[in-house]
Symmetry: C2
Subunit: 325 residues, 2 copies
């Protein structure tokens, strides 16, 4: 768009992120957006910041970055069982480069459209690259999947596979050696890191079935510990049950895969607990999820088992420097 | 709080920003906050980012910064006539320094309490200092003060005084010489820059009276031009009528004061238009506001008058590099 000012250029690309919604009464371009909440629904709100060099590597692909910036926040809605509605974007950019902006907006818009979430406001500022997205969604009263509802005897589940994104990061950082003939597996792991899929539908389907849920942004062990802390319970985890992709085991040893599955972040899968009396209902829920353990009554205590034997593990979930995740 | 981890330290200070509200069903500490919208109200949403070196000087006083970060977003609610409800804070910090954090939280908490707005979520990340706050407020259906309602013949008003914050910035940057015996005036101007007062009550009182409004973040001329553009009208402005504080005229020449009043940013006053038939109702509205001109029918055209004579002005409002303000 030669001839457009930086201001107009940014406006041009972000107006393309248009998911029409009848509850957006006034969108971008005034002091505030004006939206209408659904009657008899509660509102779920979450905010996440991604900073270059902390949450993504310098020179990250802008289209993936646009996708991921929204995906991590949508994943928080998924973890509450909320339905996406609106989001705002605060983007800090060192400079306005049109190809970067076009690709970033494209990644953002594609995911936004998929989840029918509308961009309703923004603020773009010059400075070191960072992206803050706040999402708003709806959840039925008393139906939100909180962290504090797990009870003794519940089964613990995790969606899809875990550890892939951690391996994707190690590949990007050259901490894992790229192997001959394993390009397909490597591409899969990179994709899992760069373009996580927020589990919105699974979260919605777990209403009335799961009694707690969290999304795995900081690693399964770290995020499960938030459920244990808030619910004042403990967990037995069966290491053999951890859902690990064949791509991951093709690239790293079984031990490394287990470490990544437990402690690496950025998977954006859901970890949730289901009481025994809801197991039959859970069977009807579509999606990929695996039982990995059970809730115990020893607050915050996690005991790992391998083939029925207790094992001692050392390690620590990657902790972002963060108020809350 | 010696002995606390960075994580706990941040949590400790931000939990102090507690404005209890019955519509906050789940606050900080889960994947999302859960809130309940008021029945028969619409929701106003705005987001603003302040970046060190762009929106505030390096080593800015943290208590003022806490105040200002929230004030600029509250000012957007004021400009819509909305009532503050909830906010989220995304804070990027180069390092965790306890005195800084305590002072920042104090500035934020004091203003939050004053406006009964609750902190419901956050994300704190390591990186170059920047603060993104998103505010949510309520506004009665069809009552929001938009930018697009100004009509031919309306009077144009501005609240309080303008240009003070611009002078405050020049003082801070040593572009204005500090004068003997003028410490009180200088302190006032600095205060106007550092601790703007969002005009929430005035915005609320203008419902059904003003037909357009905007807050002055980028300078009166620049922000008025947004109303003119969205409303497809023009304006005659009477320069003698600009509300300029005695502190400002004590420090700078009349010409400089006028320039600052028109083009300097950061005042966070309201500029609004009122139809002639609502003038009597306006008289009952408490607050300080001054008529500075009238709306004309030449789209986007601003004509300045001094003592009844047309004058040519050159100058340009300070434009942040921004999607929308």
């Amino acid at each position: 768009m030669p001839g457009l000012s930086e201001f107009s250029l940014i406006k041009y690309y972000f107006e393309k992120i248009s998911t029409p919604r009848s509850d957006v009464l006034l969108g971008i371009g005034d002091d505030c957006a004006i939206v209408q909440a659904e009657i008899n629904q509660q509102i779920a709100i979450s905010v996440d910041t991604l900073v270059e060099g902390i949450h993504f590597l310098p020179n990250a692909d802008p289209e993936s970055l646009g996708h991921k910036s929204l995906a991590v926040s949508l994943s928080d809605l998924a973890a509450m069982g909320a339905k996406p509605a609106w989001f705002t974007l605060a983007l800090t950019l060192p400079e306005v480069k049109e190809p970067w902006l076009a690709a970033f907006a494209e990644g953002l818009a594609t995911l936004a459209k998929q989840h029918q979430i509308a961009l309703i406001g923004g603020d773009t500022t010059r400075g070191p690259l960072s992206i803050t997205i706040q999402v708003n969604g709806f959840v039925e009263p008393e139906q939100a999947l909180r962290r504090d509802g797990a009870c003794l005897g519940d089964n613990i589940y995790v969606s899809d596979t875990v550890g892939d994104a951690g391996a994707g990061l190690k590949l990007k950082q050259n901490q894992l050696k790229v192997q001959q003939g394993k390009q397909q597996q490597e591409a899969f792991l990179q994709q899992r890191l760069d373009k996580p899929t927020p589990k919105i539908e699974l979260g919605r389907a777990l209403h009335g079935i799961a009694n707690s849920a969290i999304d795995i942004s900081d690693g399964l062990a770290a995020d499960l510990s938030h459920i244990l802390e808030k619910s004042h319970v403990g967990a037995n985890i069966e290491l053999e049950a951890l859902p690990i992709s064949s791509a991951l085991t093709d690239i790293v040893s079984k031990e490394q895969a287990e470490q990544l599955a437990l402690y690496a972040g950025d998977d954006y899968e859901l970890c949730f607990t289901v009481p025994l009396e809801k197991q039959d209902e859970l069977k009807k829920v579509k999606g990929i999820y695996t039982k990995i353990g059970t809730i115990t009554n020893e607050p915050r205590k996690v005991v790992f088992y391998r083939d029925g034997q207790k094992v001692e593990l050392t390690g620590k979930g990657y902790e972002h420097f963060s108020v809350e995740d």
